[in-house]
């Protein structure tokens, strides 16, 4: 049995009957005749840390709609989130989802990012700004209220980051997939941990490759290395339509590029595990099962 298959045995896949995580029979006191299966999983704690970002990333978290409730009901407690949870100081947590880059002209931001690193087991750079600076790379200061705030760095320039999840904004589906995998990594059985590790590995490698991204990465890292085969995924992934396909290769309108890193991360020739991808049906079914228990 493959890892994905074993995983789906626990989570239930869309095709098979759905078995919830750690199903525990709970007697319903009001109606003794009805026995319902309730999810009693060991939850993880997550927080959303807002640095200099536009809130698009947190909107993406919420955009999983009922998915957010499923995540919060079954897998994670939201212990910190300025927009959604009433907690002022950054607490200890398992996973910190950091949105935005850090303004080094603002000492609060420096303290917050340091505290995030100290208090979180896993730090995820959520979105293009936290990972690569993105649109904040173009800031020159002079904005109302804080004209002196002009120098912004991706969080990886100040702290060690465990996972990058690029995208402007990161998609709700990517957040969902990564959350389920992060949950398995922390609370799953050995097989689930192995699968989650394999899944998260490339996103964990991204921080080691640097904090700079550009559409030019498609040239310097893919085309120039003889790897591009013209599938067009990069073109579809660009949030600002800076990429068109010319002669079967991506052509980057370099002035339009906002340096989010989506295209390179999405490219199947930047990284792919054929072993993991071969199990796509079971993995997607399992994620679906996890989100629809």
């Amino acid at each position: 049995m493959g890892l994905g298959e074993r995983l789906s045995k626990v989570f239930g896949s869309s095709q098979e009957s759905k078995t919830p995580v750690n199903p525990t029979k709970v007697e319903n006191s009001e109606n003794k005749t009805k026995t319902e299966e309730k999810l009693v999983a060991d939850k993880i704690t997550i927080g959303h840390v807002h640095m200099s970002g536009c809130s698009g990333c947190v909107v993406s978290i919420a955009d999983t709609f009922e998915g957010l409730f499923t995540l919060l009901d079954n897998y994670a407690d939201l212990v910190y989130c300025l927009t959604l949870a009433d907690v002022r100081d950054i607490p200890k947590m398992d996973v910190a989802l950091v949105e935005g880059s850090v303004c080094i002209n603002d000492h609060h931001s420096i303290e917050d990012i340091r505290k995030t690193r100290e208090n979180a087991t896993i730090v995820v750079a959520l979105g293009g700004c936290a990972s690569y600076g993105n649109i904040t790379r173009f800031c020159r200061g002079g904005q109302w209220n804080q004209p002196g705030h002009e120098a912004f760095v991706p969080i990886g320039d100040l702290i060690n980051v465990d996972v990058y999840l690029p995208g402007c904004a990161p998609t709700p589906e990517a957040i969902r997939n990564v959350c389920v995998m992060a949950y398995l990594l922390l609370k799953g059985n050995d097989d689930q941990k192995a699968l989650a590790t394999k899944y998260l590995e490339p996103l964990m490698k991204l921080p080691t490759l640097g904090t700079e991204a550009c559409g030019c990465d498609l040239m310097t890292k893919i085309i120039n290395h003889g790897l591009c085969m013209g599938c067009g995924t990069c073109c579809a992934s660009c949030p600002v339509r800076a990429i068109t396909m010319q002669s079967g290769k991506p052509n980057i309108e370099r002035d339009m590029c906002i340096k989010c890193g989506a295209c390179y991360t999405a490219c199947p020739r930047s990284f792919i595990s054929l072993e993991l991808t071969a199990q796509f049906e079971t993995i997607l079914g399992a994620i679906d099962g996890a989100m629809n228990p």
Binding site: T171, G226, C231, G232, A236, S247, R269, A278, L284
Partner: protein, 287 residues
């Protein structure tokens, strides 16, 4: 494993002679999309429609059977179908997307579903992914050089291109046939194809190609639960004529032989690349 996971394999062709006419092989891709479109399984399909220049494909979202028919046949040059995957949901409002593509495009699609970076609302809307076997592809100018300079056929006179029996074939609209040894075409191949480790589109819902089946028929792998359901419904509706793969020549052994050839050859190239530098290595996508 070189043939990927599959639930069933057979030789088949579209029952509708109209679809087969102008299709590359058994018309499997077009017939299956046409059935899925009419049955409401897909709202449209991303196919290689006619482009600006003769035989230059353009990724096209077909929402009618006529548009599917207009995209029949193999264009032996790059058609970035994945470039339209987000447009399909945005500009075209498709909720159930069909897509055809080469093995590398199927890899791109599945990576996009597992790691949906920048393709919001796409991953859960893939209703039918049909893969086509592929040994290699050519850039447009490469194909043009082969057809015009080697086969001596003007692109606008070309009726069909095929690769088979170790040769590259060009058929003209007036019925002339030119063939050249396949090895003359190698230098025009897209370099990115040489690191590709999939011949029969292992990651598609259903994948198909000519190799293994007699002329006019296609070899079909039914791979996923989704593929199995749709293939089953279409077959039941009489969309396909089906034969046991064991009963046809040359059969699955040839598919396996070619798959092994492609994969081991390309694996060797990947290893060779790794040794190009001194204390440095070129990027390798496989982890």
């Amino acid at each position: 494993m070189v043939l990927g996971n599959y639930k069933a394999v057979c030789a088949a062709r579209a029952a509708d002679a109209n679809i087969r006419n102008g299709a590359q092989d058994g018309g499997i891709v077009t017939a299956m999309f046409a059935y899925a479109l009419e049955a409401g399984i897909i709202d449209g399909a991303i196919v290689a429609g006619p482009g600006e220049k003769p035989w230059q494909p353009e990724p096209t979202i077909a929402t009618t059977v006529d548009e599917l028919l207009a995209a029949r046949g193999t264009k032996y040059n790059i058609c970035p179908n994945m470039a339209m995957i987000k447009e399909a949901t945005r500009s075209y409002g498709l909720d159930k997307i069909g897509i055809v593509g080469t093995p590398c495009q199927m890899q791109a699609l599945r990576k996009a579903q597992l790691y949906p970076i920048g393709v919001r609302s796409v991953p859960d809307k893939i209703a039918l992914a049909i893969g086509i076997f592929c040994m290699e592809n050519f850039p447009y100018d490469g194909m043009k050089a082969i057809v015009e300079d080697h086969c001596n056929v003007p692109m606008q006179s070309l009726a069909k291109v095929d690769i088979g029996k170790g040769k590259f074939w060009a058929y003209t609209n007036r019925g002339a046939v030119t063939q050249i040894p396949l090895k003359e075409t190698h230098k025009y191949e897209q370099p990115g194809c040489h690191v590709c480790l999939d011949y029969v589109a292992n990651l598609a819902d259903v994948s198909t190609g000519s190799v293994g089946s007699p002329d006019g028929w296609s070899t079909v792998f039914v791979r996923t639960a989704k593929g199995e359901t749709i293939w089953g419904q279409a077959a039941k509706a009489g969309v396909f004529e089906v034969q046991d793969i064991g009963s046809v020549q040359p059969g699955l052994a040839l598919v396996e032989k070619l798959a092994n050839q492609k994969i081991s050859g390309n694996q060797k190239y990947i290893e060779q690349r790794a040794g190009y530098g001194i204390g440095k290595t070129l990027n390798n996508p496989y982890i």
